[in-house]
């Protein structure tokens, strides 16, 4: 690649989930290799082919001949095809949703070139696919960052909206915790040099793409357990239906109706949940991805539903992150104006949000305008050891503000009235800062943590779901407790050190609880790795992202709450549809069993007719209605599978009651109503002249065609 050749600009096309692509995919899923992955539906698949052969070549099965009706068999065969196809459709739609997201990201990256910085400082253009881990790149404003990496030189404003949907620019700079950049994002301002941390195909983004594509999705433990139960039921029902068929076959008074028996089998096995199970799993991951979180496995999403304890950072999660000045308290011998002036001086060059809020409050309280001449002062920055910051001026004034203890060390003890005010402020969760000028206590500035709007409600929801929240903060115990009380967390861990989170996680896990936390710093990595659900912030260090099992692209620690809901919703959807599937079956029995026996000679099996509580007079139509309903319920439930059942946080027993009533009873009632409606529709159709012509046509022409085929 010649030096200076310009890269192709990134092309962004709106991804489309075309209907034809979904249809094509749903047909491709008829491949036996795909079918056999879902044992329940695979048996339907086998029955479909068998019935197709029976329908087309009835003379090969002498016993079947007597009850054979070409149109009836053809109808059941078609409905079985529909059942399978609807199942594929749900899977195809779920996969297409995931693919759409993947494609959008992939298109951003197609044909990306990179400007590599060679060891001798030369820059050359290369294709991004040729780069290796450890290579250095340079990215200038207007270019796309080709691969994941760490900033090793410079700082830049980066647009990550194509990855995160967040339109605000983020800053990435060398050193510290904000070095990590994502391939596919866009540099808006500032030139940076980047060391590649993941090559093409292995980058963070690629992992996301592969995951949402769901092609090689592993089944989660809960999914495997459910699969086991469903497969076992299917085997048992296969035995039930086969023995039933054999028993009927050994008595001459009932004509064996293979079509009806297969219809019975397909109705009885849990096709509804079996058909929708793949789609439910895929859409769970899609929903997480839609929340801009990359889960490294489906297992992590399910684990989120199981959480018992949530460890939350105070700053940035529960509070807006900055304490703001709310009050000035002057020392007894100091006027408020003097305090305001001192505080203003001490903070005027302090760019921290706390400092700015002091300036704002002082101005509002009527502090005089300050003008600091260039060179007339020296700023003393804040350090963790000293815990104060301040300013010294050439006129000899020296003003400090900082933690009460630190200021006391500098200027002597606070007067009793101030000490009391400081204590009571701290008890209420506020942070008293002391201000001293030339070793004289001027007064206090009270800073207050501001609770994030809405966080109290979300904490209450968590409590309703049975999840205990632990707030971690470096603040002293009094301050921490006050914030804890105000926000409604269950437990407060004050004066926390970086290793405190790890200790909490180990303590809770030892008692068998499932713990989640979020974090972004390198020192969070061990805790993120140890937690059952570790949500790393995308802005965090590579180590943190590597350690967590989920990464939030929006850098919002409260996202954990959303993920918990998604995890629960995923499990609830599976459970609810399984219950629905089971109770649905009850009605089908009442439609099909009488139909099997009405075909007997005369009224011999009148007792069985007592089961015909829906009063379906035509046995063939009754069977068709049941198996048709069995097929149609699948597309009806596809939206539920894709978007999940509605989940509102409440206690487990309430959830159970509500879901059992809704899906259990709903399954029972809807099946009776649905089968009855299908029957009425088929009955109406059967009375139409044109339809009768079609049926007669099929019944006449199919055997003829088959005969003709036989002659060939």
């Amino acid at each position: 690649m010649a030096n200076g050749e310009s890269p192709e600009g990134p092309v962004r096309r709106v991804p489309h989930t075309s209907v034809s692509r979904i249809l094509a995919h749903s047909i491709r899923l008829f491949h036996p290799k795909r079918e056999i992955q879902h044992p329940v539906m695979f048996t339907v698949y086998v029955m479909f082919w068998f019935l197709l052969v029976v329908t087309l070549f009835p003379q090969a099965f002498p016993d079947i001949d007597r009850s054979y009706s070409a149109s009836y068999y053809l109808a059941i065969t078609l409905i079985l095809f529909l059942t399978l196809w609807f199942s594929h459709l749900s899977e195809a739609i779920a996969e297409a949703q995931g693919k759409a997201q993947a494609d959008a990201l992939r298109e951003v990256r197609s044909g990306i070139r990179a400007r590599q910085v060679l060891a001798d400082g030369k820059r050359i253009w290369v294709g991004a696919e040729l780069l290796r881990v450890g290579d250095t790149l340079e990215v200038v404003p207007g270019e796309v960052i080709p691969l994941d990496g760490d900033v090793i030189l410079g700082a830049a404003q980066i647009d990550e909206s194509m990855m995160t949907g967040e339109s605000a620019l983020v800053t990435r700079e060398m050193g510290g915790d904000k070095t990590s950049v994502l391939g596919g994002t866009h540099v808006v301002q500032g030139t940076v040099q980047i060391r590649v941390t993941a090559i093409r195909g292995q980058s963070f983004l690629d992992r996301l793409i592969r995951l949402v594509e769901a092609a090689n999705r592993e089944k989660t433990p809960n999914e495997l357990a459910l699969d086991t139960i469903l497969a076992a039921f299917t085997i048992a029902l296969l035995i039930v239906v086969l023995t039933f068929l054999l028993l009927i076959a050994s008595f001459s008074y009932v004509a064996i109706d293979v079509g009806t028996v297969i219809a019975l089998y397909v109705c009885l096995i849990p096709t509804t949940i079996g058909a929708l199970l793949p789609a439910i799993g895929i859409s769970g991951i899609n929903r997480v991805a839609k929340a801009n979180v990359i889960a490294k496995s489906g297992k992590a999403v399910e684990a989120a539903g199981d959480l018992d304890v949530l460890i939350l950072d105070k700053t940035g999660t529960i509070t807006v992150g900055n304490r703001l000045a709310v009050q000035f308290i002057a020392a007894p011998d100091i006027s408020e104006k003097e305090l305001l002036t001192s505080a203003l001086f001490a903070s005027s060059l302090d760019v921290t949000p706390e400092g700015r809020s002091i300036v704002r409050l002082a101005a509002r309280r009527g502090a005089p305008n300050l003008s600091l001449a260039e060179g007339s002062y020296r700023v003393i920055p804040f350090t963790a050891e000293r815990r104060t910051s301040g300013i010294t001026m050439t006129d000899g004034r020296e003003i400090y503000k900082g933690a009460v203890k630190a200021i006391e060390a500098y200027a002597g003890a606070l007067p009793p009235s101030l000490a009391e005010a400081a204590d009571s402020a701290a008890r209420e969760g506020m942070t008293p800062l002391a201000v001293a000028e030339n070793k004289r206590i001027m007064g206090l500035v009270i800073l207050k943590d501001v609770i994030k709007p809405g966080i109290t409600d979300r904490l209450r929801e968590l409590r309703m779901m049975g999840i205990r929240t632990v707030m971690c903060t470096g603040d002293n115990r009094l301050t921490a407790l006050a914030i804890g009380r105000e926000s409604g967390v269950d437990e407060v861990e004050a004066e926390a050190k970086p290793e405190t989170k790890l200790a909490i996680i180990e303590r809770e896990k030892a008692q068998g609880r499932m713990v989640a936390m979020s974090g972004d710093g390198s020192n969070d990595a061990p805790a993120l790795a140890k937690a059952d659900v570790g949500l790393a912030m995308n802005s965090g260090t590579g180590a943190a992202k590597e350690a967590g099992n989920m990464v939030d692209l929006d850098n919002d620690p409260t996202k954990l709450i959303e993920i918990i809901s998604i995890g629960k919703q995923l499990l609830i959807t599976r459970g609810a549809l399984t219950t629905f599937s089971v109770t649905n079956d009850v009605a089908k029995y009442f439609a099909i069993i009488p139909a099997l026996f009405v075909t007997a000679n005369g009224g011999f099996l009148a007792g069985v007719a007592a089961l015909n509580i829906m009063g379906l007079s035509d046995p063939h139509l009754a069977v068709l209605a049941a198996v048709l309903f069995n097929a149609l319920i699948i597309p009806i439930l596809i939206p539920l599978a894709l978007y999940g059942v509605r989940f509102r946080p409440r206690s487990a027993i309430d959830l159970l009651r509500q879901n059992v009533l809704f899906y259990g009873l709903g399954g029972l009632v809807s099946a009776f109503a649905g089968i009855w409606l299908c029957y009425a529709a088929l009955n109406w159709l059967g009375r139409q002249g044109w339809w009768q012509t079609v049926i007669t046509g099929i019944n006449h022409s199919l055997p003829l065609m088959i005969q003709f085929g036989g002659h060939l």
Partner: protein, 556 residues
Amino acid sequence: MVEVSAVTEVLLFFALLLGVAIPFGSYMGRVYTNRPMLGDRFLVPVERWLYRLLGVNPRDAMGYREYSIAFLLSSAMIAVWTFLILTFQASLFPGPVPFTAMTWETNIHTTVSFLTATDFTHFAPEVNMTQWGNLLGLEVPMFLAPAAALSVTAAFVRGFIRHDGRLGNFYVDMIRTTTRIIIPLSILGAIVLLLLSVPASYPALPWAGPGVHTPGFPGPVAAMQSIVYVGSNGGGWTSANAASALANPSIWTQYMGMGLFLLLPFAFPFAFATMVRRPGEAWPYLGAVLITFAVGLILFISFEGVASQAAAGYRFGLVPDSTFQFASVYSNTGANNLQIAYVSPIPQMTLLFGMFTQATPGSDGVGFGTLLVFALLAVFMGGLMVGRTPEYLGKHINVTTMRWTALVLLYHPAMVLIPTAIAYLGGFVPPAVAFGSFPGCASATCMNSHAFTTVLYEFASESANNGSSMSTFNDATPFFNLMGAAVILVGRFLPMLAMLRIGSEFSKSQPIPPGPGTLQTSSLTFMLYLTVLLIIVSALLFLPVIALGPLAQLGG
């Protein structure tokens, strides 16, 4: 018609039964957790002596494998013992009793049947058994088989309270079950039956004729009948069993018998709750059992009430006799006091249903074990519906647990339906019984649905280790003997080994502390969910053959 006073009596009986079962259950729970209790002063030295004799260290807790092997080996030894006595009883115990030896396959069937507390009889004790054959050959397994079932179920439950992957010591469980539960109850039962004038004599004098005893010397009937009931065994001194005036002379002996065979099944939920130290957990099980039981019994009585009752042999009235028969089948005891073959079709269907669930309340121990397995399915589906990885009593339900759970719930239809189909397709049901012409079916190859019900009932009874039968034709044929023995063996050992496997899986997992997000199983909602699931799952699997049998009879 239904008599009000009889209904009151039955309700009073159940109130009394629960009044005894609840404290007795918690006593059983203490037996299985080795807590100090009444009788320790006398029994502990006896038990210690037995442990020493057997070379058992009572502190050695066994894992799944060791426990299963100990259980299987003991069962094999009992089987050999019983089979040898049955085979050689005529030469071992020569006596004045007229005796007809059984074929070797009938001996196998009988051995297996008594080894498993099934007591399905393909013979008539008054013709085919000697007195000592009865006492040594059949009564030994009558004590040990229920003791083993209770032990295995207790070990299953221990999975919830142990966290080391182990289940306890089989020999300790066996010995303590026998000394603390089975023997005291059977002695008490025998004394009460004796006082209620069930005869007991030694020696038994020769029969005066088929089914007719020598007055005054009928044999040790009271003692045998007591363990017949206590161990959910069935069987009996005569083939008429509880239908005869000998074993069941009055309505009081009938209520006593019913109390004896319902006590352990109704007590086990409370033993369970005591073992896991959560008193509330017994109620969903009791509720599920009572609801299913009550619905079935009401159906039974109301359909029998409108049918002709002459042939079935009601001796003390419709309500008490129906209740006894129904309870005997539902507790998998199988002691008949009616001719089930002459009971009308819908009541036959309700009896079949009890054998399909095997858990309402089911036999001593295993009935509760099966119900617990049903509960695991309910917890699994219900747990998903509250959005958590399902857990029960603080133990996660994983793929392995579900695999064995599925096996326990679904082997049963296979064991009932496949042999039934083979019996018909292979022509093992006598054609004269199987077929005939019926109104609406002119051909001579129409199915006799009553005979079909009989065959279905036979295999359902054997797979459920129940023992009651309709016996409308001679089933002491090689096919029914050997196929029956195989079905009984699978029906006993497969679910029990699976329960031990599930128990060890729970025992391996570390406990999860309960929280508000945990599904509360001691709740009305869960109880109803369990009940409905239990009924639907059992009905779904068996309705087609129910249609071929009892329902088809309605039309014929």
